[in-house]
């Protein structure tokens, strides 16, 4: 008995070796590509001197971060970044789930073969092209002003009040189909016999969705939410810079941390300040992920990430 145990232990150890070896290429890639560059964060705290290199440059503490906060735009850009992202994450979640459920429901119909790829298509379109599509709709001679609003045209690119809605629509048009894919895959993995049993018991479609589908894919939903919360201080640069055509009048509703950094540093070309901005975004995002994971673990320890 004892001997057998020892053998099993020893064999266990040896058996891990091939697995570890197989992991090695991936691990090496991760270390080189994702971990070594983290050292670059030090640039955010330095006044870069090109002859002394990154390590030799003098430390300047938090001076590089000042430009993010020492302006009255700081409130606007942080507010915009957070509010847009909250809307994108939570409304996006509902839309993604709705589409995923609808897609699986029509999965047997022939037309699904067309609809499923079609709703993913906008995600493949370059944001520059999206910007011009929007421009074709909204410019002074554009489609909307020429048809729907003929007679009382709106100059959209001069009217900030409409843009929170426009940007939200554009974002969902572009990303919803693609965002639904992962849920479609999870739903496809649910055991069909559960639904059959529920039907026999007389469950309605709605009951099937709320009592079977959603509870089963909940871990996936939480995983996706945590991942998007990690990026809550970043924004889709193309959406906020290209789609409003960089129109100055719209800055109060289109300025996000990323566009502000871009606009400031295009002129200054200061490497330290740009790394400060992205360090700020990643550190806060990381804290938020840990924080929300902590909350999830408290209420539902099985769905927590770690």
């Amino acid at each position: 008995m004892r001997q057998a145990k020892g053998v099993r232990k020893g064999r266990g150890r040896i058996n891990y070796l091939p697995l570890l070896l197989m992991m090695a290429p991936g691990l090496i890639y991760l270390i080189i590509n994702n971990y070594l560059p983290i050292f670059g964060i030090t640039i955010a705290f330095k006044q870069l001197d090109y002859t002394k290199g990154i390590l030799g440059s003098p430390w300047v503490g938090l001076k590089n971060f000042e430009f993010l906060f020492k302006t009255k735009d700081a409130f606007i850009m942080i507010r915009n970044t957070l509010c847009y992202n909250l809307v994108f994450i939570f409304v996006g979640l509902v839309l993604n789930l709705a589409i995923a459920i609808m897609m699986t429901e029509i999965g047997r119909l022939k037309i699904a073969k067309f609809i499923q790829p079609a709703i993913c298509f906008p995600a493949m379109v370059s944001i520059i092209i999206v910007a011009y599509l929007v421009y074709a709709f909204l410019s002074s001679d554009g489609f909307i002003n020429n048809s729907v609003l003929k007679g009382n045209e709106i100059s959209w690119y001069q009217s900030p009040q409409y843009w929170p809605v426009i940007l939200t629509i554009v974002n969902f048009w572009k990303n919803t189909g693609y965002g639904a894919i992962i849920y479609i895959a999870s739903i496809a993995g649910i055991d069909k016999s559960l639904y059959e049993a529920a039907k026999l018991d007389g469950a309605t479609k709605m009951q099937q969705i709320f009592k079977i589908t959603l509870p089963i894919i909940r871990p996936m939903i939480i995983l996706m939410l945590l991942m998007s919360i990690g990026r809550i201080f970043s924004s889709d640069f193309g959406l906020f810079l290209q789609v409003p055509m960089d129109s100055g009048v719209l800055y109060p509703v289109t300025q996000t941390i990323d566009t502000y950094v871009y606009r400031s540093l295009m002129v200054l070309n200061n490497v330290g300040m740009s790394s400060a901005a992205s360090t700020f975004q990643s550190v806060l995002g990381f804290i938020l992920v840990l924080g929300s994971n902590l909350l999830v673990r408290k209420f539902d320890s099985e769905s927590a990430l770690f």
């Binding site: 197989m22 090109y50 410019s139």
Partner: protein, 524 residues
């Protein structure tokens, strides 16, 4: 047993894959090295140093639109090095053309990681390059290797390459004086009944534009010029109204709205001046009268395209070329000059990277770019026969063309579009469809008669106030496009703009700029 065999096999397979990965990466690295001439240079330099041959000078220059491949560069490099040997130089040159869009980042990164960049152009600004130690001081070479450049450009021009009294770079020598032309469709202009001499400056365009609008209600009378770096579209009011016969304004650069006016050296907030106000009012007037295209502040079509597409009758554009040449650039147009700029500091200066191992030889080659016709033409146009053919000579300037059936995109090597960026433009050949020999003489004459800005040679260094500078450029970008395109009412929005830039720290930046300027003045 079976499992054991399989796992051993898997392990073996993964090890083999790893090795495979390893060797393919090495092979790839070799390829990349071959492509990446900076790396190649370092190796070449090391080789040369060890074998006692002459040293290798690296020349990193930006190319626009087309960047020659390493295969295209090699024969040019060989021909250039043969030529250098024939004139008794003891070094060879490694040509390192870099796509202009990546140039500032790539050269900065290369210097930071101690790769050999050699001679390069700090496009992001000289003062910035000096304050972060990217450039070598050139004072030691001014009396010897660089003497021909000093003689050629003259002390006044060289001020552009100085920071705190030390020379770090040599300005590109070319036709800096720009004329702003009002380019208008011939038929439309003829129909208005106005004559060429009715056009004196930008303000005199208003009645003509009104007439055009009256006669052609379907198209815009004028298209806007696209702003650079998010500074907003405009009708070139700022440069045209800033000319020496008008407000005589020098923009101190960095898109901060800092100017000096007339012959004074007092730094002013441009947004508070009559100059800026009039520029905005003119555009607002045009916009209110319906003379401009709709959505002018957000359009991304170039004015020439808008005009060619028949959506606008005219546009304003700056060129170093003569009116005849500018009119000929687009079909069926007149070009009327409305203003002429003065000499102001510029960032097209060439220095030697601080990590350069052979500054003396580099300085010598830098000098050849200004003085040796052969050298500069190898770099701009490549080798005769393969990359271009000679077609004749005009005004003592050789005229050339691309070989039969070839163009800029298909020849093995050309840096034609870099002609206004490096070296001495006045000793370059004139290529068909580019700057004509007559234009080169025209530009030379303008340079000789140029009016210099009172602060020529001063360049602002915003490093001490970079926080404020970033806030100011953001605050200003919000308004400038709309104001200069006439879409925002100057009465309401200029005061808002002034408040915004002041809140962003305009006073601090002005104080710093004034201190720097005063210090610079005492030095002169």
């Amino acid at each position: 047993m079976n499992k054991k065999v399989i796992s051993t096999l898997l392990a073996a397979a993964s090890v083999i894959t790893l090795i495979g990965c390893g060797s393919s990466t090495t092979a790839k690295t070799d390829e990349t090295a071959a492509e990446n001439s900076t790396v190649q240079t370092t190796e070449a330099a090391a080789k040369a140093a060890s074998s006692g041959e002459g040293s290798v000078v690296t020349f990193s220059y930006p190319t626009l639109v087309v960047t020659p491949t390493p295969e295209g560069v090699a024969p040019v490099e060989d021909a250039l090095n043969d030529y250098l040997k024939s004139i008794g130089k003891n070094y060879t040159v490694d040509l390192n053309p870099i796509d202009g869009n990546n140039y500032p980042t790539q050269t900065d990164m290369a210097i930071m990681s101690n790769e050999n960049v050699g001679i390069y152009c700090p496009l992001a600004g000289l003062s910035n390059a000096v304050s972060s130690n990217k450039l070598l001081p050139l004072d030691d070479y001014l009396g010897a290797e660089l003497k021909p450049v000093v003689d050629l450009e003259g002390d006044q021009m060289l001020r552009s390459g100085k920071v705190d009294g030390i020379t770090y770079a040599m300005p590109c020598y070319k036709g800096y004086i720009l004329y702003y032309y009002w380019v208008v469709d011939k038929d439309i202009f003829d129909a208005t009944g106005f004559a060429g001499n009715d056009i004196t400056d930008i303000r005199s365009l208003t009645p003509i534009l009104e007439k055009i609008h009256e006669q052609n209600p379907d198209i815009a009378a004028i298209a806007p010029t696209l702003g650079l770096n998010g500074t907003g579209n405009n009708y070139c009011q700022l440069p045209t109204m800033g000319d020496p016969d008008d407000y005589k304004v020098t923009d101190l650069g960095s898109f901060l709205g800092l100017i000096v006016e007339g012959d004074s050296t007092k730094v002013e907030n441009m947004y508070e001046t009559q100059y800026f106000k009039e520029a905005c009012e003119l555009a607002y007037d045009w916009n209110q009268k319906g003379l401009t295209i709709k959505d002018a502040s957000v359009t991304t079509d170039t004015p020439t395209d808008t005009q060619q597409a028949g959506r606008a009758a005219s546009n304003i554009i700056g060129y170093g070329n003569s009116a005849e040449s500018v009119a000929a650039f687009t079909d069926n147009t007149y070009a009327f000059p409305i203003s002429k700029t003065m000499m102001a500091s510029n960032s097209l200066v060439w220095g030697i990277a601080s990590n350069c191992s052979n500054p003396r030889e580099s300085a010598d080659f830098l000098s050849l770019l200004y003085t040796d016709e052969q050298v500069i033409n190898y770099i701009i146009y490549g080798t005769e026969g393969d990359d271009y053919v000679v077609t004749g000579e005009e005004n003592g300037i050789k005229t050339i063309a691309y070989p039969e059936g070839q163009d800029m995109n298909s020849v093995p090597y050309t840096a034609q579009l870099s002609c206004g960026i490096l070296g001495n433009q006045f000793i370059m050949y004139a290529i068909e469809g580019g700057t004509s020999p007559a234009d080169i003489s025209f530009m030379k004459e303008n340079m000789d008669k140029a009016v210099y800005s009172p602060v020529f040679g001063y360049q602002i260094d915003v490093t001490p106030v970079s926080t404020q500078a970033s806030a100011i450029s953001n605050a200003a970008n919000q308004y400038t496009g709309g104001l200069l395109c006439g879409e925002l009412d100057p009465k309401t929005y200029i005061p808002q703009l002034i408040d915004a830039v002041n809140a962003a720290g305009m006073q601090d930046v002005i104080a710093v700029a004034q201190d720097q300027l005063d210090a610079w003045k005492t030095e002169q």
